[in-house]
């Protein structure tokens, strides 16, 4: 029997966790470790039902959407749900050799591996770091007094230098990227045309865009259309799929 069954949910310790926000975490594993460690749970015997519920609560509290990370959080949510149901199976799972398998094995290994690096990262941050804790001699006047070979040209360093500048002047880059390729206006037309045929899912539409520039132009076109209130953007649940439709269509639907 599993601990989950030994402690059915209504018997689970009714400790209330201090409220946390998703932005404080570095991913789903970080959230799980927080839940486990802050409640002093045994990592080798995770009460999956309890943890799954708390995990979902944290997810639901999230307001801002970071599409990129959302996927990883959702995958973990479904893993937890799956584990929860496997833990409820009366029969033990076994491997090819007949050894008992605990459904939680893989997740526990992942958590331990991640926790190691989480700790090591903190220790790395503690090391005396140049320009924070330690300072070096910044100038070398001796070097000026001799004839030295000229510095070598290095293309990759030149490109790195330019990247640095580009990152610093975001707005400028924006301007350049978007004027040099397909114009936002052109893409707005295409998007509206496509929407004539009915609503579309944002992800689906973005995936059909060839390359980065097209992708960015599309997003800008979309935002512009949204701003002009020509389209409606619907996301019925946090992290859920985003649907686009023309404003006229929305009216048609509500009046229908």
């Amino acid at each position: 029997m599993t601990t989950d069954q030994a402690f059915p949910e209504h018997h689970a310790p009714a400790r209330s966790l201090p409220e946390v926000r998703l932005e404080q975490f570095e991913g789903p594993l970080d959230v799980l470790l927080h839940l486990i460690r802050s409640q002093e749970l045994d990592i080798f015997d995770i009460p999956i039902a309890l943890i799954a519920r708390q995990y979902m609560e944290i997810l639901e509290r999230q307001t801002a959407i970071d599409l990129e990370a959302a996927g990883d959080y959702l995958v973990m949510a479904s893993t937890l749900m799956q584990l929860k149901s496997r833990m409820l199976l009366p029969r033990q799972e076994t491997d090819d050799e007949g050894n008992e398998i605990d459904p939680r094995q893989e997740l526990v290994a992942q958590l331990i591996a991640y926790e190691q690096f989480r700790t090591l990262a903190a220790e790395l941050d503690e090391r005396p770091r140049v320009l924070r804790d330690i300072f070096l001699r910044p100038i070398f006047p001796e070097a000026k007094e001799v004839q030295r070979p000229l510095p070598e040209a290095d293309l990759s360093m030149l490109l790195t230098a330019f990247r640095r500048v580009l990152r610093r002047v975001g707005g400028e880059v924006r301007h350049r990227i978007f004027t040099e390729t397909i114009s936002v206006r052109e893409q707005m037309g295409k998007l509206l045309e496509r929407l004539q045929q009915g609503r579309i899912e944002l992800n689906e539409f973005l995936e059909s865009q060839p390359g980065k520039e097209a992708l960015v132009t599309t997003i800008l076109a979309l935002l512009e259309l949204w701003r002009q209130q020509a389209i409606v953007v619907i996301q019925s649940q946090a992290f859920g799929p985003i649907t686009l439709l023309r404003r006229e269509e929305e009216h048609a639907e509500t009046t229908a």
Partner: protein
């Protein structure tokens, strides 16, 4: 005389000087140099400047105890490194060479490209090759600059490097312990 030479050379160099380089420049033997460097290290032990062994070389650096006052020279505080960046850097440092997919598998979350490029711009990581798997992903490793900036003599000096468990060891650990707790749970259940 050789001692002053070593002092001046290490002081005048913008990178840590290796034993080999010191030998070439001074024409002295490793033994002599070693002994004098040890003496120098002791002589500087209580000073505001220290002689340190960094990236398999020797370098003068300020005493960490004076950090606060030295920072006043520039008035701006160095930016804090984000946890995401530090975790990514730690994985690269301990697991090198490593691909981005491997980093993501360990952290359980997508690595933003800006983290990788920030680490590259800092000069802490570099691409050392490609892994011979489909897609031939880049293999990342730390640089000499990483050792210098984090005050390490070599990768062996990374904190707790020897205690790090690899995949196999973690699997073993999990199998042993998870089985135990299950057994306990079963046993305690079977008792009347």
């Amino acid at each position: 005389m050789l001692k002053q030479q070593l002092e001046a050379l290490i002081f005048a160099s913008d990178v840590p000087l290796s034993m080999q380089r010191l030998r070439e420049l001074t024409q002295a033997s490793s033994n002599e140099i070693h002994q004098l460097l040890a003496e120098l290290q002791t002589e500087y032990a209580d000073r505001g400047i220290r002689l340190c062994r960094i990236a398999e070389g020797w370098q003068f650096r300020t005493d960490p105890g004076q950090a606060e006052i030295v920072r006043r020279l520039w008035e701006s505080r160095p930016p804090k490194l984000s946890r995401a960046l530090l975790e990514t850097l730690a994985i690269i440092a301990y697991r090198q060479p490593v691909t981005r997919a491997e980093i993501e598998a360990l952290r359980g979350i997508k690595t933003s490209s800006s983290i990788i490029s920030t680490l590259q711009e800092r000069g802490w990581i570099k691409v050392v090759g490609r892994k011979e798997v489909p897609g031939r992903p880049q293999l990342l490793a730390t640089t000499r600059q990483f050792l210098i900036d984090f005050s390490l003599n070599s990768l062996d000096d990374l904190p707790d490097a020897s205690q790090l468990l690899d995949e196999g060891e973690i699997e073993q650990l999990v199998l042993e312990n998870i089985a135990d707790t299950r057994k306990e749970a079963i046993e305690s259940h079977e008792k009347p």
